[in-house]
Symmetry: C2
Subunit: 387 residues, 2 copies
């Protein structure tokens, strides 16, 4: 089979041609360091600040609340390390299902003496508000919860979490909106009760290597990458002008198309879920309704996720067994364990994430192929046991 | 005058068309997260690892000694913070004329209790080997010295510094080769006595937003950006595939053309220096011979550098008053102060850095314009005094 169907948009999207077109002038005739005062520098400075203004417009923020970074992971590192750098001790509250960029950074701070609380989630992956209320102490310096989970797609009640954080503590509230940004209304993550929001361009058809951190005015945060005075002295390093221009264009397009595209993808997702749950021993992971429009995650009895992924790949379908970020790891997904799956069930899971090029026929072809691969794998398993 | 002449290549270069061509497939038809196991991911993984292999080939290193970062500033942060993260105290030795990415990072560590020694330099900007020998103690954990200075172009005796470090201590030796990489033979910075070398693509006609850190095998260094398992678990964040491909192509081209291009630029530089020193009250900053082929830095009596830069800009010549990284600051250059200039003389300086598109006629046109602007400024100054 020659047809290749990409169903791993949560790992990375392609770069939209419109975004590339916006970037190309800054990868050719228009060059200069935005920090330079001469004409060459000022042209790129103008483009950089315009990109910032576009981003802040979409987010309904001020331009000087937008900081460009090298990606979502750096944004998460910065938010967590930048807030806690002002303290030697204190509590950090996060959830058990955060992205490794948050979890592993929190673990580093734990080694340094911070008291890190990992909030439990329910069977659908929704963070426990009761646990949050119980764990918020007066020495809590930071709460970090993701807008939507990258593996199972569950949307977290960010507005409620933020209200609790602000009502019960002086802690800052950080939202990792890397997976949510292109798929949901991004303005939901720039609420009065949210102090910082992480974004990554390559999750919404922008370039890799560029991200942003929204930081609400007045937030006391230290720099993470130190050196020159770029980004108003807060993030050193020569600005990635083409990247910033591309990110702003991609965010602008994503926001404009989001209501319609979300509806389209939700319909595809419902069809996908309906057909896949028709397969014997299939189970949906994550919330049945409160989930990203483009995400479906399943476990299949008696099937190993890695083999399933390889079998589907052979048939031309690119999906993920777990998240791409942890795809090199053989550990069962920490997200699937947190929602109560056994290690075995977690190892038999598969994430399908759709995007702009996904059509109804892709979903139907995919589910046919999926049924076929699962049937083959189970037959092999039985043969294996019989031998 | 409509002609625009860019003479600020040290701030940033343009992206070479050959480099853009190498990048474009990865900004369009070839997409996927290199961490994904499926075919889309593996194609980009192959490109990423090929880029790493090209870089390591140029550096005469092993591929797994090359780590991609978001740029020179991150590489410098990583080297310094990553080595010292294993200690709570100890000495760090650097020089007074390092880039802010090194100096400001060292200052942060000073606040945390590290003992930072800033080695003096001579009148030409050459780091004092005697001071290094005196200051190396058994608790010195890191020595960081730049390969060549970004403002005055002076080339440091990296091989000698490294020999002293290794003979007299157990410290690691880091070299910030961001300015040197395209202009000098890069293999000089991957010597047995060098443990880490920082590179930035946009200084040698590669894209902005991508850099690398060479880390010698066996170096005990902590991660700086934590999260996923990218870059063999050492630098988290989705890989910037197009950036890595572009950087490797740019480095390959720069290395191949370096001997010839360095000779060409050195000849232009000599002509530039000869003509500029013909102007009354002009003085060369930095070493007369041991300097980057493309760099000249001057001070002019009775002229304010900022006004000079603006005057030249009006005539179509883009140069820098100080380094681009500090161009927003009104502080006199720390480099010029370190080589013994008065704050006033430091404020009357101008950096000219040439590159691939610089022609002999540009140098002649520039020096004519320079003489004219200086003469005007001095006349204004006298008129001003007379009034």
């Amino acid at each position: 089979m020659n047809k290749k169907v990409y169903l791993d948009y949560a790992a990375t999207t392609y770069l939209r041609p419109e975004v590339l077109r916006a970037m190309l002038p800054f990868m050719g005739e228009v060059y200069g360091n935005p920090a330079s005062v001469h004409l060459f520098g000022q042209k790129t400075r103008y483009a950089l600040e315009r990109a910032r203004a576009v981003m802040s417009g979409v987010l309904n923020a001020c331009p000087d609340e937008i900081y460009f970074t090298s990606g979502g992971t750096e944004s998460n590192n910065w938010a967590i390390r930048g807030i806690t750098a002002g303290y030697t001790r204190g509590r950090i509250i996060t959830s058990q299902i955060e992205h490794p960029a948050v979890l592993n950074t929190c673990k580093e701070l734990q080694k340094k003496g911070f008291d890190v609380v990992y909030l439990p989630v329910d069977e659908y992956g929704v963070v426990s508000l009761g646990a949050l209320k119980n764990k918020l102490t007066c020495d809590t310096v930071l709460v970090s919860v993701m807008a939507a989970n990258n593996e199972i797609g569950t949307i977290e009640p960010i507005a409620d979490i933020g209200r609790i954080v602000k009502a019960c503590s002086d802690a800052y509230f950080h939202v990792d909106a890397v997976q949510a940004a292109g798929a949901l209304d991004i303005r939901n993550y720039k609420l009065p009760q949210v102090d910082m929001t992480s974004l990554s361009a390559h999750k919404f058809y922008g370039p890799q290597g560029i991200g942003a951190l929204y930081i609400k005015k007045g937030t006391r945060i230290h720099s993470f990458v130190t050196g020159g005075s770029q980004e108003r002295g807060m993030r050193a390093g020569t600005s990635n002008v083409a990247g910033a221009v591309g990110m702003s264009k991609a965010l602008e397009l994503a926001a404009a198309e989001q209501p319609r595209e979300s509806r389209r993808l939700s319909a595809l997702r419902e069809r996908l879920i309906g057909r896949v749950l028709g397969i014997d021993g299939a189970r949906l992971n994550g919330h049945p309704v409160k989930r990203l429009p483009n995400n479906a995650n399943f476990s299949f009895d008696f099937v190993e996720g890695e083999s399933l992924m390889i079998g589907l790949n052979t048939k031309g379908f690119a999906v993920s067994a777990g998240s791409a970020c942890s795809s090199e790891s053989r550990e069962p997904s920490h997200v699937l364990l947190a929602i109560g799956l056994s290690p075995k069930a977690a190892h038999s899971s598969c994430r399908i994430t759709m995007g702009r090029s996904t059509r109804l026929s892709d979903i139907d072809d995919f589910t046919d192929a999926l049924a076929c691969v699962i049937s083959d794998l189970r037959a092999d398993g039985r043969d294996g046991k019989r031998r």
